[in-house]
């Protein structure tokens, strides 16, 4: 059984880059699902088990902040690790997201190493728990 990822970003280009990077990480992957906004992401999370969510903040329909809050408030989803991938780089915003339960914060533009490192960190922590 491999890992299941959800990539949430309104940019199809960014989704494609993250997806390709996951594919190059050398970890066993069962499924990579994509969503273009927060509402679609919650719909995916409602029906499918996900091991790690990459979540953008600034999106149409529903932004990443609201997704984070809804996931944290739902006992069935609260343990799902979320890593924010956003262009926003104000320290106040990053702290706000960590307070909301985000396990990591990657600033755009990112390097493949940053994606790979956060996958290893988050999934290793999860496996050790």
């Amino acid at each position: 059984m491999g890992y299941r990822f959800l990539i949430v970003d309104d940019s199809a280009t960014t989704r494609a880059v993250i997806k390709r990077t996951i594919g190059m990480c050398g970890i066993e992957t069962e499924r990579i699902t994509e969503a273009g906004n927060g509402r679609d992401a919650l719909a995916v999370l409602a029906v499918a088990k996900v091991d790690l969510v990459f979540l953008d903040l600034n999106m149409p329909e529903m932004g990443g902040m609201e997704v984070c809050a809804k996931v944290q408030a739902d006992p069935r989803l609260a343990s799902t690790p979320i890593v924010i991938v956003s262009s926003e780089s104000m320290e106040s915003r990053i702290q706000q997201m960590k307070n909301q339960g985000a396990k990591g914060y990657i600033k755009k533009p990112f390097t493949p190493e940053q994606i790979r490192n956060v996958i290893q960190e988050v999934l290793e922590v999860r496996n050790a728990a």
Binding site: T13, R20, N58, S87, T111
Partner: protein, 147 residues
């Protein structure tokens, strides 16, 4: 807006292009002609300082950017399909990276809007070029400004 904001915008654009797509900006040596089939991408922001980040570039540049980001060729269909999306993402990245440079306190909070894209009318170029930071990227003229 701080007087050095336009220079900060140009530097942020250069850094973002290099990190996203290995594209280097070069200075403009003479007033460039209006780019062909150019688009204007805007992203509004509000907070301690409010305004809009704009990047104006030809569609051919957007396709090259998309191809570089995706690791494909500009003639690939995927690069063509994602060209507009990629240019909007560039402006999103530039806007996000610029906000700390415009802020006066680490506690400042900015609200970023979603980037929008429209076709530039050739008659706009005189005004755009006079109020923008201009640079060349692999033979394409790029303009960036804060409005």
């Amino acid at each position: 807006m701080q007087p050095d904001a336009p220079q900060a915008l140009l530097e942020t654009l250069a850094e973002s292009l290099e990190l996203m797509a290995f594209i280097m900006l070069d200075p403009v040596t003479e007033p460039p002609a209006a780019p062909e089939e150019a688009v204007v991408v805007s992203m509004g922001f509000s907070g301690p300082v409010s305004g809009s980040v704009q990047v104006i570039a030809p569609r051919a540049f957007a396709t090259m950017l998309s191809a570089n980001v995706l690791g494909s060729d500009p003639s690939d269909e995927d690069a063509l399909v994602k060209a507009d999306d990629c240019l909007k993402e560039l402006v999103n990245v530039v806007g996000g990276a610029l906000m700390p440079k415009l802020s006066t306190s680490p506690d400042d909070v900015f609200k970023l809007e979603l980037p929008t894209l429209r076709t530039m009318d050739d008659s706009e170029w005189t005004s755009i070029s006079a109020t923008s930071q201009l640079a060349m990227a692999d033979g394409h003229v790029i303009a960036a400004r804060l409005v």
